[in-house]
Symmetry: C2
Subunit: 78 residues, 2 copies
């Protein structure tokens, strides 16, 4: 069964590029990728921060946060 | 046929984590990932820079550079 990975973004150009390329390249047999827009779904910002996300776009896999380039700081999404 | 993606790293802990998690999660049916250690293979630094890589670890997919967290600046590898 595929584990869950979460791609946090904010709809920014850097985010869209990372989603279309990196997030879409993830092997679906290994990870089911959920995409969360923190700009429109602010209720999940705390969850992202708890996972170590400091900026978007970021991918949380196996409990670790991987920031992919830099679109926006998480503080700017609040 | 799988396209080619290149994961540039320098053996640093941040690099190893990104390789074991993000690079290994890439769908092999979409991308064949080549791993290049710029600390030991300095002849490929210019190629990485031409692709837009400014720090490692970084993944170059479809001609775009995606920096994953921050291990070391590319200038520090020369």
């Amino acid at each position: 069964m595929a584990a869950k990975a979460i791609f946090y973004h904010a709809g920014c150009p850097v985010c869209v590029s990372a989603e279309q390329t990196v997030a879409n390249a993830i092997d679906p047999s290994k990870y089911e990728v959920e995409s969360v827009h923190l700009g429109t779904d602010k209720s999940r910002i705390a969850e992202a921060e708890a996972a170590g996300v400091k900026s978007v776009p970021a991918l949380v896999i196996d409990g670790a946060a991987f920031h992919i380039n830099f679109g926006a700081g998480i503080a700017d999404l609040k």
